[in-house]
Amino acid sequence: MLDNAIYLVVSIAILVTMGLAMARAILGPTVYDRVLAANVFGTKTVLLLSVIAFLYGRPDFLDLALTYALINFVGILAVLQFFQSRSRTEAKEAKD
C-alpha cells in the first residue's frame, strides 16, 4: 500500500503539470511556447511512464519510457532544423 502511495503522489504531480503544459500549448502565444510545451510534455510522459511501470509492477515496460526519452528529442531538433532552413530560404529570397 505504501508503495502505491509513493507513486501516486508523484504521478498526480506529473499529471497536473501535463495539464499546465497543455494550457501553455493552447495559449501560445508564440510558436516557440508550443514547442516548449511539447517538450515539457515529452519529458513528463517519460517520467509518468516510468512511474506507472512500477505502479503496475511491470518494470520490464521501461522500454517505452526509454523510447520516448530518445525519440522526443529528434522531434525538437527537427523543429530547430525547420526554422533554420526557413530563415535561410527567407534570407535567400530577400537577396534575390
Binding site: I12, G19, L20, G28, P29, L36, N39, L47, F54, P59
Partner: protein
C-alpha cells in the same frame, strides 16, 4: 532497512513531484518564451534526477535499475539540448529576449505577435 529506503525514496519522489509542479506553474505563468523555457528546463532536470533516483531505490539492483539509469542519462543529455534548440530557434526568428515592462504586459498576446516578429 526496507523502511529507510522507502522513506528516502518517498522523500526523493515527493520533492521531485514538487519540482515538476513548480516547473509547470513557471511554464504557464512567466511572461515570455525565454523565462518560461528557463523555468521548465531547469526544474525538468532536477525533477528527473530526483524522481528516477527515487524509483531506482524502489527497484533495487536489477535490470530495471539499469534501464532507469539509461533513461536518466538520456534525459539529462536531451533535456538541456532541447531547451537550447528551442531558445536558438526563437532567437533565430528574431524574438527579443529582453524582458522589459512592455513585453511583460503583452505576455498573453495572440499568435500574431510572434508571427509578425519573424516575418
Amino acid at each position: 532497512m526496507e523502511l529507510t529506503l522507502d522513506i528516502l525514496s518517498f522523500v526523493l519522489m515527493t520533492t521531485g513531484g514538487a519540482f515538476v509542479l513548480i516547473g509547470g506553474i513557471g511554464a504557464l505563468r512567466l511572461p515570455n518564451v525565454y523565462t518560461r523555457l528557463h523555468a521548465a528546463s531547469l526544474t525538468d532536470t532536477m525533477a528527473s534526477i530526483l524522481i528516477i533516483a527515487g524509483i531506482m531505490l524502489q527497484a533495487g539492483f536489477s535490470l530495471a535499475a539499469i534501464k532507469l539509469l539509461a533513461i536518466l542519462i538520456f534525459l539529462l543529455l536531451t533535456g538541456p539540448t532541447a531547451s537550447y534548440a528551442i531558445a536558438n530557434a526563437a532567437l533565430l526568428s528574431g524574438l527579443d529576449p529582453q524582458c522589459d515592462g512592455s513585453t511583460v504586459g503583452a505576455a498573453d498576446g495572440d499568435d500574431e505577435s510572434g508571427e509578425e516578429l519573424r516575418s
